[in-house]
Symmetry: C2
Subunit: 80 residues, 2 copies
DNA sequence: ATGTGACTTATAGTCCGTA
DNA sequence: TTACGGACTATAAGTCACA
């Protein structure tokens, strides 16, 4: 009885993990540094770094600011 | 030159507004009171009430708790 | 069953550094 | 350019009394 999955089931990420991953991908895609993104969003450089490392529990208003700085809707930052 | 839209363009809601609206719909659909939802999510009744009234800037961890109490993914609470 | 203002405590978010 | 700390200050969390 093989229990090996044919393809890996995606590991369930926490909301923080999801946000961090999406943030990184979108930021890189736009060739922005953490600093540049932080500036666009009106946030501090070190805060963006913390969020990307899942070290901080960001608030909704700031999720919205990051989304807007990246040109996406807020919910897209939480999509798996 | 008619400028009347065939169907109304949806007014753009803030992230708080989106969350509040989705929260209300999902909560009602499950026939939960604010109190019951708060209990499921491990939050205080009045806190949920404030969020539904857009009076609070909720954090990601608590968005996740509410989503889980409602049986949906976090991003679904922010979908337009 | 819900809305709301006020209040304290916890932590989000800033700013200064070092590597 | 990013990671990570320490020491702040601003604001979210959490609770209550009362409409």
């Amino acid at each position: 009885m093989s229990s090996a999955p044919v393809s890996e089931p995606k590991k369930k990420l926490s909301a923080r993990g999801l946000l961090a991953a999406n943030l990184l991908v979108l930021r890189r895609r736009r060739e922005l540094s953490q600093e540049a993104l932080a500036f666009e969003a009106g946030l501090h450089r070190t805060f963006v770094a913390h969020v990307e490392r899942q070290a901080r529990n960001i608030s909704l208003d700031n999720i919205e600011r990051l989304a807007s700085a990246l040109g996406v809707e807020p919910f897209e930052l939480l999509k798996p």
